[in-house]
Amino acid sequence: MTTAAIRRLARLVTAHIDGPLLSATLLLLGVSLVVIFSGSNQNFTRVTSQTVSMLVAFGVMYVFANIPPHFLMRIALPLYVLGVLLLICVAAFGDVVNGARRWLHVGVTRIQPSEIMKIAVPLMLAWYFDRYEATLKFKNYIIAAVLLVVPVGLIVRQPDLGTALLISAAGCYVMFLAGLSWRVIAALATAGAASVPLLWGAMHDYQRQRILTLFDPSQDPLGAGYHTIQSTIAVGSGGIFGKGWLQGTQTHLDFIPERTTDFIFAVYSEEFGLLGNMLLLILFLLVIARGTMITANAPTLFTRLFGGAITLTFFTYAFVNMGMVSGILPVVGVPLPLISYGGTSLVTICLGLGILMSIQTHKKLVQS
């Protein structure tokens, strides 16, 4: 083979990979391994297993980067319907793990249908708005809202508040970007604010207490508030420069719960301090900025809406997780994208990033 042939093959193989997005992702994954090593008390098995997950996620990213967006449009409806059916199955006979019914046995393995919906719901809505692009009316927004509420309602019942929140956010982003009128947005915001006291009045005392604890962890320092208090201490004690890698006392003396998964940011923040936090925010912003750029230049309404939803959902993951760890948001089970230990969310996020790459690299094809 000639060098030219090799070069051409290489170009063919990498044709649908977006360089900037890939670079930012790789940097974040590098950070992830460093922090998981510390958070797991220097457990190489964890690092190795996460590396394997990363390779799988890269495979998924590569595959989806190479799938043209119009193919995704074709599977939008079937995937959505399948997802909702699976959620109903979960509700009917799913496995209960840690008090929540989220898993469904499929042959030898078990799957978490709500994870599918993270992609399927924005995909469905983007496809739906794209389909009625020429004749969008208020009615279509109502239908879109129903398409969103059904799966979210099923997921809330599991209960999986974190996932439900992320999916509703994704759906709302699609509707917002699809041009939901400002008046409706204002009306919804007012109605939402007005319903708070009504809902509050209708709640039981224990429910109120639970919500109060969500917002003020010091009310229940040994129970629900414990995680937030300890993670806030970890962040605050990190200071400007951090305690140094593997030196976090909150981390290594077991005060931080879920140190490699949902609360991994506490570990990072304790050991790398404010400077580390700024670096991480910049890396996340790089991904978001690149996603926004791709979305802004996307050729069709479908790709614009879907790409926008993926980008903003990525932001939501990061914001909700860091907000929760630093004590300004209630604790909901949302991992830190690309950093937290665990294969499922990593694959889902890389899949989304792969779709962004696909949108970017298939642009010319659509235009031509």
Binding site: A134, L177, S237, S269, L274, N277, S326
Partner: protein
């Protein structure tokens, strides 16, 4: 076709507008993203810069646990180094009640692995009632190696139960020293409050025990030592990960006593089955050589909390073993009061030594006949004879001549009726009768007739054996009184510095040497030819003494005391005071034998044994210790 084109044109225009709108919204969304990230950044800045100190402190507090290390308690030894209180290390099985749901079930379950007697259970129950709530409490002490192994194998079943190595206090001499050395016990809530009040609670973190009575109590400050501190890094489960810093505890100081354990033992045995008390003092320093109150109790029972049954037995025993008779028991001094009365007479010029009275066998005052012990009387009696033969009539008359207030004023200078200030707590004051005293105590005026029996140490007179011993020591030491003290010196075991409890002269009585000589000579006469002669027959040293018998129940007018007619507990108390050698006294003592009858028979032989041992190192021959019946007249 054209329509299609127009349509397309509209669509294209719409699409351009749409893209514009979309990008605007995307820009708004991006603005929102930036705003939210700025919010996070502000939060990070607040936590990590502004509040950093605060959170750093919290993280350190999380991480570091301050563990107190209790100091070893000082030991207590006698003047020759014989150990009276020491510590030994042993394993205990402890339960933390706060971590156990069903305590009874747990103990039943534990009993299948390690023997737990009903006594252990009772003691644990009592501890549970008294303890600070978070403590771990011992259910069994002194575990054997086999028991430890058995528990270790089954420990997963027992949440809140653990084995700890602890230091235990032990009193090898048991009840013999129970009233001097006292004992420690677990700190109760009242003591804890007191420690907090005094600001000493920090030094008691990690200490479970505190001195309860005796020297253990009064020298608590010296014995306890200084608690050490270990800074330990702990994980979220509270398990120690590593030690960060350590300041070692400083062991408590040792007490070296003036007491002679052997002497104490001799006294204890000499009492036989009798109850009573003996205090022997070095008159030149106030150092206490023997301090016995019998019966005693086993102080070891109290160390880890006494069980209810033993507690009940001790408390309800008619022998009242918990009462420190030497320190807190008050008794009429009987005829041992006479030498002091004689000194009062000389000092106030009411009698000359050679002045005689005629004893018809009693004294008539106000229609009452105060009987002398000897039927028909002692005939002509001067001061010497009045003490040697213990003539009551002489002192009836003398008391009447002196008057109660003079007697009180004089006796007070000897320390009668006031605490001596000895270095253990719980001293009784006794009562020294006077007009004022009676008015205060009974709101009644004094009757002159009441003075008469005070003259022979009866009536309202009531003093502790310790006061009596101190008074004898004062005579022996020619009027110089020292504060009695049991501890010779406190030995700092780190620096080996000895803090000597210096002899502390309390007062020097203004007694004329010639007056003292008269009384001292008479007291020598007692042991040579008088009521104490039999007990001191053949002694190789010259001693001085005085017998006494104290009535427990008042006799009716004209009634004669017959021991066999009186129930055992109502029989007279036997007393004896003595010092020796007479020319240069090294030991002064007071003995009281409860319900033993005559001082000459029951109390004087004990005094003899003590002095023989102390001066000559002579071990007592197994003689009949305290005489049973009497063939002597009353003294």
């Amino acid at each position: 076709m054209s329509e299609l084109i127009i349509n397309t044109g509209v669509e294209l225009r719409n699409s351009r507008l749409e893209i514009h709108n979309f990008r605007l919204r995307l820009a708004i969304a991006l603005g929102f993203v930036l705003l939210m990230f700025l919010l996070l950044l502000a939060r990070f800045f607040y936590l990590q810069v502004i509040q950093h100190e605060h959170y750093n402190t919290l993280a350190e507090a999380n991480r570091i646990s301050i563990v107190p290390i209790a100091p070893n308690r000082g030991i207590i030894v006698d003047r020759n180094g014989v150990v009276l209180a020491h510590n030994y290390s042993a394993y205990t099985l402890e339960i933390t009640p706060g971590r156990v749901e069903d305590l009874d079930a747990l103990i039943n379950d534990l009993a299948t692995v390690i023997e737990i007697t009903p006594k252990d259970r009772r003691r644990f129950k009592k501890l549970l009632e008294e303890s600070k709530s978070l403590d771990s409490l011992p259910i069994r002490t002194r575990l054997s190696d086999e028991e430890i192994a058995r528990f270790a194998a089954a420990r997963y079943r027992f949440r809140g139960v653990e084995i700890n190595a602890r230091l235990f206090r032990q009193y090898p001499k048991g009840e013999m020293f129970s009233h001097v050395v006292g004992h420690i016990g677990r700190i109760n809530q009242r003591e804890l409050d007191k420690l907090e009040e005094e600001g000493k609670d920090a030094n008691y973190k990690g200490t479970d025990y505190i001195g309860k009575v005796g020297l253990e109590d009064s020298y608590e400050k010296d014995l306890h030592g200084t608690t050490g501190v270990e800074e330990v890094e702990v994980d979220s489960g509270g398990r120690a990960v590593r030690t960060l810093s350590r300041s070692a505890p400083v062991s408590g100081s040792n007490l070296v006593l003036k007491l002679d354990a052997k002497l104490q033992e001799i006294v204890y045995q000499a009492f036989g089955d009798y109850r009573g008390a003996l205090v022997a003092i070095d008159p030149t320093t106030g150092g206490v050589l023997a301090f016995v109150s019998k019966p005693g109790f086993d102080p070891n029972l109290f160390v880890d909390g006494i069980d209810t049954q033993n507690w009940k037995e001790l408390n309800e025993s008619p022998d009242r073993p918990m009462v420190n008779r030497a320190l807190a028991g008050t008794y009429p001094p009987g005829s041992t009061f006479k030498p002091f009365m004689a000194l009062a007479a000389l000092t106030y010029g009411k009698r000359r030594p050679e002045q005689t009275i005629s004893d018809p066998g009693g004294f008539n005052f106000g229609g009452h006949f105060f009987r002398d012990d000897k039927v028909g009387g002692h005939g002509l009696v001067d001061m010497y004879k009045s003490i040697v033969v213990s003539c009551d009539t002489y002192y009836y008359m003398l008391a009447n001549d002196l008057g109660i207030d003079n007697i009180a004023r004089f006796m007070r200078t000897f320390g009668f009726g006031s605490p001596t200030g000895i270095d253990i707590k719980g001293e009784a004051q006794g009562s020294l009768p006077s007009q004022e005293w009676k008015m205060k105590r009974f709101r009644q005026k004094w009757y002159a007739g009441e003075t008469i029996s005070v003259g022979i140490g009866q009536g309202y007179n009531a003093y502790t054996p310790l006061q009596l011993a101190q008074a004898v020591a004062t005579i022996a030491n020619d009027g110089v009184t020292f504060k009695p003290h049991i501890v010779d010196y406190v030995e700092d075991i780190v620096t080996h510095k000895h803090t000597v409890i210096e002899p502390q002269p309390l007062r020097t009585l203004e007694l004329k040497p010639e007056h003292l000589k008269v009384v001292k000579d008479a007291m020598i006469g007692v042991n040579k030819e008088g009521t104490g002669a039999r007990a001191f027959a053949g002694a190789s040293y010259v001693s001085a003494g005085k017998t006494g018998t104290a009535q427990v129940v008042a006799l009716k007018q004209g009634e004669k005391y017959v021991a066999s007619r009186v129930t055992e507990r109502n029989r007279d108390h036997a007393l004896f005071i003595a010092y020796a050698p007479a020319d240069k006294p090294k030991i002064a003592l007071a003995v009281l034998v409860e319900n033993a009858g005559f001082g000459a028979r029951a109390a004087a032989p004990i005094a003899r044994m003590v002095i023989d041992y102390y001066l000559l190192g002579k071990q007592p021959t197994p003689l009949k210790a305290a005489g049973e019946n009497n063939d002597d007249g009353r003294d």
